[in-house]
């Protein structure tokens, strides 16, 4: 129970630091790697002492609620995330719980965009709703595929079902779509249009001080939790030779996050209306076919 927030915090800061180090290298800045790698901590300290912004005629209740909901949703989703074989709560409906909690991000980002009574913020909030319409259905089909193969909605049961063969081997489409939707859910990298520079920060544009810290930390946390869930769903959880299960989980999570962050920086920002088209015309049929194949294998075996 107490291990989870600590591990999540360390992994999240490390991920943000890795992203900063990649950015520094891409920009050709000749600073030692410790400077960008510790930047998240320095930024957090700066935001903690910063003043909170208030705007005229803001809807303070909804604004603060949205900002707080984002990290809380990520933490609640992480309750079913196993470290090795132990998770805080291995619910019988773990997959559905995970999906329901991460959905709260929709409400959170829209509220954070609505609250300050500012045009760019509001556009950012609506952008995220449009993006959500694109990524959510492929995301749910990917989750359902893993649950179907295991015959269980319990995360522990899904890990046990991969003792012989990791799900990523025979459901690669679901795995790739899952990671894609994880990045879109955290509106990061190519899917950062809701907080894009063309909107002067979008949904996060009017946030400063501790509000900004909560919102941006919640966003990184969401990316980490969503990417980490790919390990029990598709990569065999804590399974592996020699090393203990918790270490395998951490190593696999680090590998997935490293790949996601590195790849995410390779692509330009995707307009969400184009992504909606790709999602509905390409990704949804692909994930349905993937679910069908997996169902037939389960029925036949």
């Amino acid at each position: 129970m107490l291990v989870l927030p600590a591990v999540l915090a360390v992994v999240t800061v490390a991920t943000a630091g890795f992203d900063g180090a990649l950015a520094a290298r891409a920009a050709g800045r000749p600073e030692p790697v410790t400077v960008p790698a510790t930047a998240p901590l320095r930024e957090a300290a700066r935001l903690l002492v910063g003043q909170r912004r208030s705007t005229p005629a803001a809807d303070a209740v909804l604004w603060r609620a949205g900002v707080v909901t984002l990290p809380v949703a990520a933490l609640l989703a992480a309750l079913v995330l196993p470290l090795g074989t132990a998770s805080v709560a291995d619910l019988a409906v773990g997959v559905v719980w995970f999906n329901a909690m991460e959905i709260l991000a929709w409400a959170a980002v829209w509220l954070a965009g609505w609250g300050p009574n500012a045009a760019f913020s509001l556009v950012g909030g609506y952008r995220f709703v449009a993006q959500g319409l694109a990524y959510e259905l492929p995301h749910m089909f990917a989750l359902i595929t893993a649950a179907t193969a295991a015959g269980s909605l319990r995360i522990g049961g899904i890990v046990e079902a991969q003792a012989d063969l990791w799900f990523v081997v025979w459901m690669p489409v679901a795995f790739v779509v899952y990671l894609l939707s994880a990045v879109a859910m955290a509106f990061w990298g190519p899917f950062a249009a809701p907080v894009g520079r063309d909107l002067a920060g979008g949904a996060a544009g009017e946030l400063s001080g501790v509000d900004r810290l909560l919102f941006l930390a919640g966003r990184w946390l969401l990316l980490v939790v969503a990417a980490a869930m790919a390990v029990p769903l598709f990569l065999g959880g804590g399974g592996g030779p020699l090393l203990p299960a918790w270490l395998w989980t951490l190593l696999k999570t680090a590998a997935v996050l490293g790949a996601v962050v590195w790849l995410g920086r390779r692509f330009p920002t995707v307009r969400m209306d184009r992504f909606v088209e790709v999602a509905w015309v390409v990704l949804i049929p692909l994930t349905i076919v993937q679910a069908l194949v997996v169902s037939l294998v389960v029925l036949g075996g």
Binding site: D59, V61, L62, V96, A100, L111, N117, Y126, V129
Partner: protein, 114 residues
């Protein structure tokens, strides 16, 4: 513990349900309704129907609340951004000289602002 949670969820659902008719911002009304549904989901979980309760959370936040309510209600209803006083009832209290409509008084009152 279960009894306490039952009453907390129950009273929470009723209070936030009433707030739907008392708040004067469409956005706040939408999320008061969502809060009410989430309390109901808590009751369903207490009944031992874990799957149903969690799915209620999932569906209410996504389809019901965010997409349909927040987008369409704010788009189509009389008070798009909380800019004007709003009543959820058919009400003629602001003006007796004009006929009733779902959006309160239709048209301006002859003597109110001149």
């Amino acid at each position: 513990m279960t009894a306490v949670l039952f009453w907390v969820f129950g009273i929470g659902a009723v209070v936030t349900g009433l707030l739907v008719f008392r708040l004067d911002s469409m956005a706040q009304v939408t999320f008061a309704l969502l809060a009410s549904f989430l309390f109901v989901a808590g009751e369903v979980v207490l009944l031992g129907l874990g799957y149903l309760g969690v799915v209620i959370v999932l569906m209410m936040v996504m389809e019901m609340e965010m997409v349909i309510m927040a987008v369409f209600m704010i788009m189509y209803m009389m008070n798009p951004a909380g800019l004007m006083p709003m009543s959820m009832f058919w009400s003629c209290s602001c003006c007796s000289a004009r006929p009733c409509s779902p959006s309160g008084c239709s048209g301006r009152c002859p003597s109110s602002r001149s």
